[in-house]
Symmetry: none
């Protein structure tokens, strides 16, 4: 009756890891990366401190994985949003809209991913994933420039500026808005104008209205 890593155990382990990551992300979501503390996370997950170290080499590794997962989720949501038919500008609009909405719903998390001071290990993740993220905006911008529908501009810088504009206005520490939808619309218009697509901004009532699934 030798020990076998049963299906059940494996599932439980995966669940524990998941639990830890969820607890960790919940903390980050509420208080940024400074709030990701081993003891707290362990307690939140209903586990012992030592257990955390069975699943993650150290605090930074846990933080890096929280970062990675959250960012990948954002990237996935963006990619999905961009997968609509239409011109580069239309798709950019969709992407911005989704990004904006998500930032609005989880502002502290958005800031954490975009601007929180983090350890070098996590910073590396940031560089990696942000490049990935910005890349999608960049590609659209380049398409738009090629087709002549967007004026020439440094795509990389514009992409970062878009991220900054949305994040700061909707999820920044001083952000404030009465009506969420209006804020999203306004930021989208701001961004589209910013990249030079102002003329083609659809009417407000034609704005993309996608459902958002924050766990997706």
């Amino acid at each position: 009756m030798a020990y076998r890593e049963t299906q059940r155990v494996r599932r439980r382990k995966a669940a524990t890891r998941e639990q830890l990551l969820r607890a960790a992300e919940a903390r980050v979501r509420a208080g940024g990366f400074a709030a990701l503390q081993i003891q707290t996370v362990a307690a939140d997950a209903g586990l012992g401190v030592g257990t955390v170290y069975r699943y993650f080499r150290n605090r930074d590794s846990l933080a890096a994985e929280v970062f990675q997962r959250a960012t990948e989720r954002e990237v996935a949501a963006l990619v999905k949003a961009l997968a609509v038919p239409g011109s580069a500008i239309t798709r950019l609009h969709h992407g911005l809209s989704v990004f904006a909405r998500r930032a609005l719903r989880a502002p502290r998390l958005a800031r954490a991913l975009i601007a929180d001071p983090v350890s070098p290990e996590v910073e590396a993740q940031r560089l990696h994933y942000r490049r990935d993220y910005a890349c999608h905006f960049r590609t659209l911008l380049e398409q738009g420039m090629e087709s002549g529908s967007l004026p020439p501009q440094p795509a990389e810088l514009s992409a970062n500026a878009l991220v900054g504009a949305v994040a700061e206005s909707l999820a920044g520490p001083v952000a404030e808005h009465e009506n969420e939808s209006e804020a999203v619309d306004a930021v989208c218009r701001f961004c589209l104008r910013a990249v030079g697509a102002g003329a083609e901004i659809p009417a407000a009532d034609a704005a993309p209205s996608l459902e958002i699934n924050h766990e997706g």
Copy 2:
């Protein structure tokens, strides 16, 4: 005699306070608010730790004042930049250009003021001063809208978006640029288009070229 003594003392106290604030800001400039540590600051200023507590109630108070002074300096620089003759858009352009350049020269400080996680006490300062800061952009935007040279838009949100766009693209953790002047120009154009002044963007060689005095 007694009076002069008092005055001399008062002057010395002011100088000590100044020293501490300078040392503290230098740290923030290099490593954000996390780098503002009492012992380090005291040592940098050539003073004792206890002395810090004679001039500031606690670490947060010191941080708040560093924050305040730095922001006030930024506001002053902005106000000065906006004090040029010309249309709202021209002045906005000047303001953005100055803001961008300053962010570029002191990126870590810019991030610290705009996005670093801080204690509630400092966060209050942020709210106060950022409102002040954005107000100047807002006023110009409102003027532009009134005169019809800018399309209608929520001024507050646009102002924040401008700050975010500049900060993230020039001073953000992923910011990267080969040529500083070009980056500044590009961001300015991005911003002017964003607020709807795209058509009136001056040629690059007509861009405002102001000297910057970082201590000013």
Copy 3:
């Protein structure tokens, strides 16, 4: 059938125990008793940590047994070396030579057995086995004294001093030697003189040259 089953099981259990002890000793050999960690040993042996506790009550028990086996092996090697024909001094020379060579080949292990700080449980083992070990030297010394070929001396103390002299000079933390054989010879001469057999030291080329089998 049932009997053979039992025997097979018994053999397997013995093999597992052996595996653990081997892995544990390997660690001690490399890093002393501090390097004997349950998790490491289990992993090295390709077994689970829980399994370790099936075969040993706790860490100290495992350490004690590692200690015992290693010391017994040393004692056996010594006894074998002493089982040569010849005078007490000749045999002592053989013994020292073997001891020295073994210490030289496994210095960290030698230090672990002789000097590493260990738990009281293991310390008890040390006392027991070291007495056993020294006993053989002691016996020879006493024979030598009786026969008049060695001057009177407290045999127990001399025996310990011999162990210390060899261990420290060949396996001590500051030990250093260019040529192993010469070092062994030199220590042997040192020891023989120490016990008062200086005059009878054989020429270097007549030194005993025994094969050493470290697993034996």
Copy 4:
């Protein structure tokens, strides 16, 4: 009334440092370097944990200094003992006698200095100081060899062997002795014979009888 580091404060600081080093050494003296724990030492010294770190960079630094001081004291005692008039052998005898007595009085400390496993930082100290220590024995041995009163032998190895012989027989984990003076005498004789000075060993009642001051 500017703060001045008064004589009194300076003295108190020195006293605190001393207190910490004493407490630390006391622990080492009782339980080896493993017993040198920050919390324990702080408590023993009647100080807070943080205070330890005002005086020592970290645990290893404290350990290194304990090591250094203790070893320097041993070296000094040895040097003083060797500063008697007489032949190399006479002086060697004095030195061994002092070394032996000190090892006997503080056996755990002696073992800690000579054989305890320590961090690389402390190990470096060991190498440095042991070389220093052995050097004195070595010099005498070399003098003896030159003058023909000692047979040729590798001085370095002999010196280490002397240290090992004394330490193991008097301070080793298995050391045991009814009469301290006799043990010291016996070891000295053992050592003198070992280096080839057997014939010149003074009568037991002519053995050097130096006072020992362990704090000296």
